[in-house]
């Protein structure tokens, strides 16, 4: 954990907050160009992704396979555009690649593809599987006595999958202190609110009972995000879960907590409104715009 002055810390928070805003703008542009995608869950994850890629993760964009790098597994694979934006931002690939999201032949597949895209650690998109892969990586690191860490971001909806809990149990058993789970608890899944589909509460008690250290945060408060990531590094003898309370669609008022924006791209006009709002050129709008509809 680095030692920083209060002033440095505030500067870091301000920088990362601004980076997260830029990632959101890039994300909306990307999904709009692609004409399909899952904006809601990318926007909820943006602050954490910014904190990871622009601060916490030890990676070498010019050497994506650097053996001692930290690993980030996006288990909620449909939200990869926000990670693509971050990967381009730190230089894993040229920013122009973002223009080809979901296009034929593009390394930027609709869901993460580790073989095609530099910087992507695991191919995911079938929900519930990413944590198992992250656990395997953490076990490998532990076997090798390595100092690198594994971060795995999960969705709240996918926490309904049994395999998540198989993986959580194994991580607890092997006391994987080099593993950090991040639950992007944005409250909404494809068809409805998580609590209406299959409530995952009590979430804190579940993870604690699987022998994980749990820290609850406001996942849109950069100070809390950074504190939680730092704290996770101090946890010994067990994996750490950052239970990140977020808002699906965060930053675009009419997408927020609206299941219609789980899996649908904005059109050009909507994208312009969204970006204007993200850039502070437009006031948040109240309520949904009634233009939703399942993809």
């Amino acid at each position: 954990m680095e030692v920083t002055t209060t002033k440095d810390r505030q500067a870091l928070i301000d920088r990362l907050t601004d980076e997260a805003r830029r990632l959101r703008v890039e994300d909306i542009k990307m999904i709009t160009r692609a004409g399909s995608g899952h904006p809601g869950g990318t926007l909820s994850a943006a602050d954490m992704v910014a904190a990871l890629y622009l601060h916490k993760l030890r990676v070498r964009p010019e050497e994506p396979d650097w053996p001692d790098r930290d690993r980030f597994v996006l288990s909620k694979g449909h939200c990869i555009p926000i990670v693509y934006a971050a990967l381009a931002r730190v230089g894993f690939f040229p920013r122009e690649w973002l223009n080809d999201l979901r296009k034929l032949g593009s390394p930027l597949q609709g869901h993460p593809d580790r073989v095609r895209c530099p910087g992507v650690e695991a191919s995911t998109g079938s929900l519930g599987q990413g944590l198992s892969i992250a656990v395997g990586m953490a076990l490998a690191g532990k076997l090798d006595g390595a100092s690198w860490r594994v971060y795995c971001m999960m969705g709240d909806g996918e926490s309904q999958a049994g395999q998540i809990w198989e993986a959580a149990m194994l991580a607890g058993k092997y006391r994987l202190q080099n593993l950090v789970g991040i639950l992007d608890y944005n409250q909404v899944q494809q068809s409805d609110l998580v609590k209406n589909i299959l409530d995952i509460e009590p979430t804190v008690a579940k993870w604690r009972s699987f022998n994980w250290h749990v820290r609850e945060i406001d996942g849109h408060d950069m100070r809390q995000i950074l504190d939680a990531l730092d704290e996770a590094e101090m946890v010994v003898d067990r994996p750490a879960l950052i239970l990140s309370h977020t808002i699906k669609g965060k930053g675009v008022s009419w997408m927020e907590l609206n299941p219609d924006w789980h899996g649908k791209a904005p059109d050009q006009e909507q994208a312009e409104r969204a970006i204007a709002e993200l850039e502070g050129r437009r006031s948040p709008e109240s309520g949904g715009d009634g233009e939703g509809g399942a993809s």
């Binding site: 695991a122 198992s132 892969i133 656990v135 990586m137 076997l143 194994l170 092997y174």
Partner: protein, 306 residues
């Protein structure tokens, strides 16, 4: 000496286990899969995942993506039952995962249908980059395990619960993708894999007694399939009989049929295999009942050339 291929696997794995890249994962079947032999020597590289095979496969992939050669063993039916996890977390990932399915087919006998892997080859063959290997005896299993340590990409190996007679010489060399001609012959070709290779050899003996020259091929690699050997058998023998302890859909018989059809071969093909979920009983009785014993192979061969 007759030995179950699962046992030969466990012994071989413990032997190659000195390679520090090798990690073995178990789903509470270590005594049945013989991976306990590896655990005895290298407990620190043995990951007990409990009865949670989907997670075991994903964890194996994570290990593989971090430079390990991860062997995950369970019963064939339980491995193949996690097809979508294997597809996503191992295959699409291009992970160096070594999936091992023991207790293949009706040959397991008494435990019955729920424990019989009968669709696993079909499932694994359908994954684009999956190599599928089924050794026919102990020495072939050992050589295959040694080969797989350095193979690139995901693989599936299918092993038996029951003991199998030696069909290969002690100095046998394993070559992935190359069927082994165990018996030369010109009138009919018997293509077998795993436990049914010994049945095919017995059938060839019976046929020889009746003056019929039968070629016997041990198709230990089901994917990629040895097209050359199949086409040569078709051209030189005319009739082909395949026999496998697996469903007739998607296994050896299907693979051979695909090659023959794609190449426009006119060879007559008879596919022997299971068409059911299986049931309890003794191995030999089941092989007879399901039509994959030596007698059925020789009968089919006789019909093929009549």
């Amino acid at each position: 000496m007759a030995k179950a291929t699962r046992e030969a696997f466990g012994e071989a794995l413990a032997r190659v286990g000195e390679d520090p890249r090798i990690v073995v994962l178990d789903g509470d079947l270590l005594k049945s899969t013989f991976t306990y032999l590896f655990r005895e020597k290298y407990p620190e590289r043995f990951i007990e995942c409990g009865i949670a095979e989907s997670n075991m496969i994903g964890v194996a992939s994570g290990l593989a993506l971090s430079g390990k050669v991860a062997w995950a063993a369970s019963f064939a039916c339980f491995v193949a039952g996690r097809l979508e996890t294997i597809r996503m977390s191992a295959g699409y990932q291009e992970a160096n995962v070594r999936l091992v399915g023991t207790h293949a087919g009706i040959g397991i006998g008494d435990d019955g249908a729920s424990q019989m892997g009968l669709e696993d080859v079909a499932a694994m063959r359908a994954l684009p980059n999956m190599t599928v290997i089924q050794p026919a005896d102990a020495v072939e299993t050992e050589r295959a395990v040694e080969y797989l340590v350095d193979h690139e990409g995901p693989t599936y190996m299918r092993l038996t619960r029951q003991k199998l007679e030696d069909v290969n010489p002690a100095d046998y060399r394993f070559e992935v993708g190359k069927a082994v001609t165990l018996r030369e012959g010109s009138e009919v070709a018997l293509l077998a894999t795993g436990a049914t290779v010994q049945e095919a050899l017995k059938a060839a003996d019976e046929l020889a007694g009746g003056g019929i020259s039968a070629r016997v091929l041990n198709v230990h690699t089901l994917k990629p399939i040895d097209r050359e050997a199949i086409l040569a058998a078709a051209a030189e023998c005319g009739g082909i009989v395949t026999v496998e302890d697996h469903n007739v859909i998607g296994g050896l018989g299907s693979a051979v049929a695909e090659v023959l059809a794609e190449e426009g071969s006119g060879a007559r093909l008879t596919v022997l295999g299971c068409r059911d979920y299986g049931q309890s009983g003794d191995s030999e009785g089941l092989y007879d009942l399901y039509g994959i014993s030596a007698k059925h192979v020789s009968d089919a061969a006789g019909n093929a050339i009549s």
